[in-house]
């Protein structure tokens, strides 16, 4: 039996923390971070209790509580939650990884004077994310979807005095708005056809029997519109452009929002609403290909990136592409499995990168780092585990989950399998590149000439402790039976030996290639020479940003200018202008009535009374 109170507590604890900080603690750095950590830990503890309650029953319990929120005669929106195995796993990821990152942030944001604001935003984000996970209807989900977008915007632009950060926030917000427009259209479309006798509804549970009654082509349209929202939030091609720039935000934000949780919301949505997507084969194929293309493209771009966080961002894109592909191939279990392990090791890698950045006094260029292994042993070791997990080396968690996806692709679609395998190989290569450049080699500060006063140091324990916690999870994530918890009614996946061996070879080849290239130090990236002209294409990120900029500058701007002309000539001068003229003339005439002479007023009054008297007496 699941206790509803626990769920509500887990739901609202971060919001309470956010409000407390906003109203009382904006000046108190120490207490505000403690309140935020207390909020997320409350949610985490509640989630653990709910988890045990759910899996005490067999089959696992499910609980829905829904309060009426906005009700017109046949239009109803509820506010509630739908707790099931999928939701509790996602909730555990959000609050568990969230707790680790909140604690880490206390160390990372220590020097920032406005860290209370940071913790308020972070708590707001946690609340919104939990809202997405728990929502039991589409409108509530959409509201939290937007709230997550808002907190993402606030956190990316946290250092708003940096123009690049402010721009990145706006970019993320605009791209997400664009995709959410499609998402909302899809929701309304689905709602409008959801009447099969019991009235229209936004509730997931009411929608399940509806799907089979919807015209297949219309359902494809709805599925693709809903997927539009996923493309924005989970940064799929061609709406991926915001995620790379989002790295302007503080590193814990990148770890929590732009790696572990928020960008995974799209995957989670696909899995939770899988009953909508599954019947439409066209939509599923498109989803699978979008995912595969994203995965490959991001993996290629990551190879030429020099900023430690941006490399990880590309890697996130690539892994999200894999998950979307898994969902598109009809495997929500594989997708969610990879989401879970990815949340562990990607949060770990980002926090490791944050630790490096912190230790290097806010240096993010990997070519200015060298031999950090010895200076930062804990960061180095945990980062090493994260790298291996992401590359898919046995027996770390990434191996199991990535292999599940690859096996799925292998069985269903060989083209997608090849794409995914290449992306995995590239993943191993660029992660190896990142690791060897940053941590390998001797510690002589040859590359940092003229920079004497910056001594590299290991981070404090509030930062290394979450690293160790996440490293353990990344290491054992493959053995704790995550897929069985998410989808208890599915048979456990057998390891496909052929796929496993191929992908292991690919990963090892990728890593060793990276070691050959970067194991020995050179002043510049040897890749520049090897790739030649293609390197510049990579540097310009396949021209996505340029195309968008060109579109805005030349197409949209021209349309806007033309519309402005129409407005000025037609609306302003012709229609509005005449109206203004008319009222001006009327005013000029009427103002003689208001001459301020008291006796003139009295005259008007008297004559008015006389006229009234005459008229009324005639009617008598």
């Amino acid at each position: 039996m699941v206790d509803g109170c626990l769920v509500w507590t887990a739901f609202f604890a971060p919001l309470i923390a956010c409000l407390l900080i906003t109203f009382f603690l904006l000046k108190n750095k120490n207490l505000s971070s403690l309140v935020a950590i207390a909020g997320i830990l409350t949610s985490f503890v509640c989630s653990c209790l709910i988890f045990s309650q759910i899996f005490q029953a067999s089959p696992p319990a499910q609980l829905q509580q829904s309060l009426p929120w906005i009700h017109f005669d046949n239009f109803a929106i509820n506010f509630g939650f739908l707790m099931n195995p999928l939701a509790i796993m996602m909730l555990l990821i959000v609050t568990g990884v969230g707790s680790a990152i909140f604690i880490y942030s206390r160390g990372y944001m220590d020097e920032d004077p406005s860290s209370p604001r940071f913790f308020a935003y972070l708590s707001l984000f946690a609340f919104s994310m939990i809202g997405i996970v728990l929502s039991d209807n589409l409108i509530q989900l959409f509201i939290f979807w937007e709230l997550v977008g808002l907190s993402s915007y606030l956190l990316i632009g946290f250092w708003y005095f940096k123009p690049s950060a402010a721009d990145a926030g706006v970019k993320a917000f605009l791209v997400n708005r664009l995709s959410d427009f499609g998402f909302l259209t899809g929701i309304i479309l689905l709602w409008s056809v959801s009447d099969i006798g019991a009235g229209r509804s936004f509730q997931f549970t009411d929608l399940v029997p509806v799907i089979s009654h919807i015209d297949p082509s219309l359902l494809t349209g709805i599925a693709l519109l809903l997927f539009c929202g996923v493309m924005g939030k989970s940064a799929q091609v061609p709406l991926h452009v915001w995620l790379i720039d989002a790295m302007e935000g503080p590193t814990p934000v990148s770890a929590l929002i732009h790696a572990a949780t928020m960008v995974a919301a799209g995957i989670y949505l696909l899995a939770r609403l899988f009953f909508i997507f599954e019947p439409s084969t066209t939509a599923m194929i498109i989803i699978a290909y979008v995912g595969a293309i994203t995965s490959l493209m991001a993996a290629i771009l990551a190879v030429a990136e020099n900023d430690i966080k941006r490399i990880l961002a590309y890697s996130t894109l690539s892994q999200l592409g894999l998950m979307v592909m898994a969902l598109g191939l009809g495997g929500p279990m594989q997708g969610m499995y990879h989401l879970t392990t990815h949340a562990f090791f990607k949060a770990l890698l980002f926090l490791g990168a944050g630790s490096v950045i912190y230790g290097m006094h806010h240096e993010q260029d990997i070519w200015k780092m060298q031999g950090l292994w010895k200076k930062m042993p804990i960061t180095g070791w945990t980062f090493f585990i994260g790298t291996l997990a992401l590359s898919g080396i046995w027996p770390l968690s990434g191996f199991w989950s990535k292999d599940a996806i690859l096996a799925l692709a292998f069985e269903h679609n060989p083209v997608l399998y090849v794409i995914a395998a290449i992306a995995s190989g590239l993943t191993a290569f660029y992660m190896g590149r990142l690791f060897f450049v940053v941590f390998w080699g001797d510690t002589s500060p040859g590359r940092r000439k003229g920079d004497h006063h910056h001594e590299v140091h290991e981070s404090p324990w509030v930062m290394t402790l979450p690293l160790i916690f996440l490293a353990i999870l990344s290491a054992i994530g493959g053995f704790i039976g995550i897929p069985q918890y998410i989808f208890p009614d599915q048979a456990p996946e057998q390891l496909n030996m052929k796929v496993a061996i191929i992908s292991s070879i690919v990963a090892v080849v990728g890593l060793s290639f990276a070691f050959i290239l970067y194991g020995k130090r050179s002043a510049t990236d040897p890749l520049i020479k090897m790739l030649g002209g293609f390197y510049n294409v990579l540097k310009s990120k396949f021209y996505f940003d340029d195309v968008y900029a060109w579109y805005v500058d030349h197409v949209q701007q021209n349309i806007a200018l033309a519309m402005e002309k129409v407005e000025k000539s037609l609306l302003d001068s012709l229609i509005l202008g005449e109206l203004v003229h008319l009222s001006r003339i009327a005013g000029r005439g009427l103002r003689y009535l208001q001459n301020g002479l008291v006796q003139r007023y009295a005259m008007v009054f008297i004559f008015g009374a006389i006229i009234l008297f005459v008229v009324l007496s005639q009617n008598l």
């Binding site: 208001q594 002479l597 006796q599 009295a602």
Partner: protein
């Protein structure tokens, strides 16, 4: 015994004189005086009706009118004094600050 018509005739004449006084005189004091005439005229017709209809309500109303008239004069004179202090004249024509 005089007829009701003659009472009303006197009342009407007084009312017209008051009306002309209110609208034409420029001196604010004269305007106030004319206003009193208007009230007196209506009082007269009330009393006349009361007598001819044998209903005392008319006389009752007259008391109220007198009361209101007293209050009105008190306030009106106070306004005239303030007006004189402010613009040093009591001509109604100079009191036109309320225009556009």
């Amino acid at each position: 015994m005089m007829s009701l018509g003659s009472y009303l005739m006197v009342s009407g004449i007084i009312f017209s004189i008051g009306l002309v006084g209110v609208t034409t005189s420029r001196n604010v004091l004269k305007v106030l005086l004319s206003l009193e005439l208007l009230l007196a005229a209506s009082n007269l017709s009330f009393v006349a009706f009361s007598k001819f209809n044998g209903d005392y309500a008319g006389q009752l109303i007259v008391f109220f009118v007198i009361l209101v008239a007293a209050a009105e004069v008190a306030i009106g004179l106070a306004i005239v004094v303030l007006m004189y202090r402010r613009i040093s004249t009591i001509s109604a024509d100079d009191l036109k600050e309320m225009k556009w």
